[in-house]
C-alpha cells in the first residue's frame, strides 16, 4: 500500500469516484491544466478531459451557483473554492439555495454537491488565505460540514461526501496537505459522515478537535491519559461519541483555530452542558484563537492555539 499525503489521498478519491461515476464533475478556478494551486486535482484533466474538469471564470458565487443547477439536474459536482477566504461570495448560494433545495421542494429537487476548499492558518500566506470559519457553515441546516485530519480519513470521507445526497462543505487543512504521509489503500472505502474517531484513548480528560489542531492536541495530550476525539464531521457532529467519552472522563477541552466567540467549540460545549453536565467534574475549557482578525504570517503563530496552550488547558481541567 502506498504512503500518501493528504493532497495525494484526496486526488485519489476524486479520481476513483470519477472513474466509478460519470456524473461526478470537478469545477473551479485553476483546477484543470494547473491542477489546482495546491495540485489537488493534478492529472485529472488529462484522464477525464475538460468536460469533467472545468476551469471556470473567476467567480465563486458563480462556481457554487452553477454547481447547484448541475446537482439539481442529477450531476454530482465537486466544486473547488481556491481558499476558504474566498468562499464568502458563495455563501448566499450555499445557504439560500444548496441548503434549502430539498426542503423548499419537499424532496423534488436535491443538491448532491461537494464544495471543497483549503482552510486554516500556519502556511505563511497572504491575507484571506488562512481562514477557519467552519462554524458559519455548521449554523446552516441542510449543509453538512466535513473536515479530515489525516490522508486516510480524507479519502474515505471525501468519497462519502461525494456520494452523500446532500450538500457537503469539505474543508481541507492547507497546513496538513503535505505534512503527514500514511498508508492509503487504493480502491473503494468510505468513512461514514456524522461519526467521530477516537484518535487516542484515555480516561482522565476528553480533548475534542479537528483538522490541523487535532495533531497539536495529540502532541499536547501525549503525557496524559486522554481521549482525543477527531470530530471529522462537524455538522452534524457525533454527539454520542462525545458524551460517552465525557461521561467517562468528566473533563473536557475543546480546541480549534477559529476565534473563540461563536466558534464550533461553543456548540460542543453547550451540548455537553445540556446532555452530560452532571458528569462534569469541572468547567469545560475552550482553547481557541483570539477574538481578533487573523494576522498576517509574522503573528499567526501567536494567534492559533499552541501545543503549550493546549497543554495548559488540559492541566487546568485536570485540577478538578
Amino acid at each position: 500500500m502506498a504512503k500518501l499525503n493528504m493532497v495525494q489521498a484526496i486526488n485519489l478519491a476524486l479520481k476513483e469516484e470519477m472513474q466509478r461515476d460519470k456524473d461526478v464533475i470537478i469545477l473551479g478556478e485553476d483546477v484543470g491544466r494547473d491542477g489546482g494551486v495546491f495540485r489537488v486535482t493534478e492529472g485529472l484533466l488529462d484522464v477525464f478531459g475538460a468536460e469533467r474538469v472545468i476551469d471556470t471564470p473567476l467567480a465563486e458565487s458563480g462556481i457554487v451557483g452553477v454547481s447547484i443547477g448541475m446537482a439539481a439536474r442529477g450531476l454530482k459536482p465537486v466544486a473547488e473554492i481556491q481558499f476558504m477566504g474566498f468562499i464568502y461570495p458563495a455563501l448566499d448560494q450555499i445557504s439560500s439555495h444548496a441548503a434549502r433545495l430539498r426542503s423548499r421542494s419537499r424532496g423534488r429537487y436535491t443538491c448532491p454537491l461537494v464544495v471543497r476548499t483549503p482552510y486554516g492558518a500556519g502556511i505563511k500566506a497572504p491575507e484571506h488565505h488562512s481562514e477557519s470559519t467552519e462554524a458559519l457553515f455548521c449554523h446552516m441546516p441542510g449543509i453538512k460540514v466535513v473536515l479530515p485530519s489525516t490522508p486516510y480519513t480524507a479519502k474515505g470521507l471525501l468519497i462519502s461526501a461525494i456520494r452523500d445526497p446532500d450538500p457537503v462543505v469539505f474543508l481541507e487543512s492547507a497546513r496538513l496537505y503535505r505534512l503527514i504521509k500514511e498508508e492509503v489503500p487504493e480502491g473503494e472505502y468510505t468513512i461514514p459522515l456524522g461519526k467521530a474517531r477516537l484518535a487516542q484513548e484515555g480516561k482522565d480528560v476528553t480533548v475534542i478537535s479537528w483538522g490541523a489542531m487535532l495533531h497539536r492536541c495529540l502532541q499536547a495530550a501525549a503525557g496524559f491519559s486522554a481521549d482525543v476525539i477527531d470530530l471529522m464531521t462537524l455538522n452534524p457532529f457525533d454527539e454520542e461519541t462525545i458524551y460517552s467519552s465525557v461521561k467517562k472522563t468528566g473533563r473536557v477541552v475543546i480546541v480549534h483555530e477559529a476565534p473563540k466567540t461563536c466558534g464550533l467549540g461553543a456548540e460542543i460545549s453547550a451540548s455537553i452542558a445540556e446532555e452530560a453536565m452532571l458528569f462534569l467534574k469541572g468547567p469545560i475549557t475552550r482553547v481557541t484563537a483570539y477574538d481578533a482578525v487573523l494576522p498576517l504570517p509574522k503573528l499567526e503563530d501567536y494567534y492559533m492555539p499552541t501545543v503549550e496552550r493546549i497543554k495548559k488547558g488540559i492541566e487546568e481541567v485536570l485540577k478538578y
Binding site: 471564470p57 451557483g65 439555495h97
Partner: protein, 351 residues
C-alpha cells in the same frame, strides 16, 4: 497606430403587433390558428388566475402575492417557445409562465398561502423551484445548461428575472459563464420599468438592458414585451439557436408592471397615475384581442367557452387549495436532509 475601432455592436428591437392589433406580416411567426387560440386561452387563464389570487390575498386567504398584470405576453410568449423537455427557472413573478406550462393552479395558491407542498414541482414538469432572492437563480439555469451540454441532451434552460435583477452580481456571473461555455440558455429579462420603487433609469445607466449581453460576447435583443407575437418570435429564435449549440441569448421584454409590486406595496407612493395610464393603453391583452378579432378567431362562442373553462379551472384551484389538509409540522424538519440527523430525531419528538 492611431486610435482605431476594434469592436462594434448594436442592439435590435423587435415589434410585430401594434396597439391596433395589426401584425407586421413579414415578421409574423409561424403559429397556426390553433396555436393562437391556445395562446389566447393561456392569456385569459393567467390574467384571471392572477386576479383571483389578488382577491384571495385581500381576503387574507393567501399571503403576500406578486401580481403579473401587464406582463402576461412576456411570460406566455417566452414559455410557449419551449419544448416540454426544456427547463424553466422562474423568479417570484412568473405565474404566467407556470400557467402556460400547466403547473397545477391550486399548488400555486398553496405556495403563496405559505405551504411548501405547493412548490413540490410535479415530476413531469421541468420547472425549477421559485427563487425569491433576486438574480440568484440565473446561476442555476446556467448550471442546468452545463448539465444538459455535458450529457449531450438537446434541452434548453430558460431563466426569468426583472430589470432590477440585472444589477446583482449573480446575474453577471451567470451571463459570463453562459457566454464563456457557450451554453444552451435563454435569459429572459422582463423589464417592467420598476424594481419596487426604483425606476429603470436609476437601476442602470445603459440605454437598454439588452446591450448588457455585449459584456459577455453574445447577442442581446429587445422586444416589445406587450406584443405576444414579437415575444414568442424572439424567444423561439433564441431557443432554436441554443438548441443548435450556438450559445445563449439575452431577451429584454420591454413591458410594464401595471399594478403594485406585491400586495405589500403601494405603487402610488412612487409613480404617477399618468405613467400607469399611458401603459394601460398598451395593455398586451387589448392588442392581442384586437389581433384575434381581426383574424376572425375571437368568436363570441370561443370567448364564452374560454371564460367558462377558465372560471372552472380557477374555482377548482381555489377549492383544492383551501381544502388541502394542514401540513404536518414535522415536515419542516423531515426534508432538511435525505435522512434525519440524530439531533433532529430528538427534536422530532416535539411533534
Amino acid at each position: 497606430m492611431p486610435e482605431k475601432i476594434i469592436e462594434s455592436c448594436s442592439v435590435t428591437r423587435l415589434d410585430i403587433l401594434n396597439e391596433k392589433g395589426e401584425a407586421d406580416q413579414a415578421l409574423m411567426p409561424s403559429l397556426t390558428d390553433d396555436h393562437l387560440r391556445e395562446l389566447y386561452e393561456m392569456f385569459i387563464l393567467a390574467r384571471t388566475f392572477d386576479h383571483r389570487a389578488l382577491n384571495l390575498q385581500r381576503e387574507g386567504r393567501i399571503g403576500t402575492y406578486a401580481p403579473i398584470l401587464g406582463q402576461e405576453a412576456s411570460q406566455i410568449g417566452t414559455a410557449y417557445a419551449l419544448d416540454k423537455t426544456d427547463w424553466i427557472f422562474p423568479s417570484f413573478r412568473e405565474n404566467g409562465v407556470l400557467v402556460a406550462r400547466g403547473y397545477p393552479l391550486y399548488m400555486i395558491l398553496q405556495y403563496w398561502g405559505g405551504d411548501e407542498r405547493g412548490i413540490k414541482v410535479p415530476d413531469h414538469l421541468n420547472i425549477f423551484t421559485i427563487s425569491i432572492p433576486v438574480g440568484t437563480h440565473v446561476l442555476h439555469a446556467v448550471g442546468s445548461a452545463m448539465a444538459a451540454k455535458y450529457r449531450g441532451e438537446k434541452t434548453v434552460s430558460m431563466v426569468y428575472f426583472g430589470d432590477g435583477g440585472t444589477s446583482e452580481g449573480d446575474f453577471h456571473e451567470g451571463m459570463n459563464f453562459a457566454g464563456t461555455f457557450k451554453l444552451p440558455v435563454v435569459f429572459i429579462c422582463q423589464n417592467n420599468q420598476w424594481a419596487i420603487s426604483v425606476p429603470r433609469e436609476r437601476q442602470t445607466a445603459s440605454k437598454t438592458l439588452a446591450q448588457k449581453a455585449v459584456a459577455y460576447g453574445f447577442e442581446g435583443i429587445q422586444v416589445d414585451g406587450n406584443d405576444i407575437l414579437a415575444v414568442y418570435s424572439a424567444a423561439k429564435a433564441a431557443v432554436e439557436k441554443a438548441r443548435r449549440g450556438e450559445g445563449p441569448t439575452l431577451i429584454e421584454c420591454f413591458t410594464y408592471r401595471m399594478t403594485d409590486h406585491t400586495t405589500a406595496d403601494d405603487a402610488s407612493r412612487y409613480r404617477t397615475k399618468e405613467q400607469v395610464a399611458a401603459w394601460e393603453a398598451k395593455d398586451p391583452l387589448l392588442r392581442f384581442r384586437l389581433f384575434m378579432e381581426q383574424r376572425g378567431l375571437l368568436t363570441e362562442a370561443f370567448q364564452k367557452e374560454v371564460d367558462a373553462v377558465t372560471k372552472q379551472k380557477v374555482d377548482e384551484a381555489e377549492k383544492m387549495a383551501e381544502s388541502a389538509a394542514h401540513a404536518d409540522p414535522s415536515d419542516m424538519i423531515t426534508y432538511t436532509y435525505a435522512s434525519l440527523t440524530p439531533r433532529q430525531t430528538k427534536q422530532m419528538r416535539d411533534f
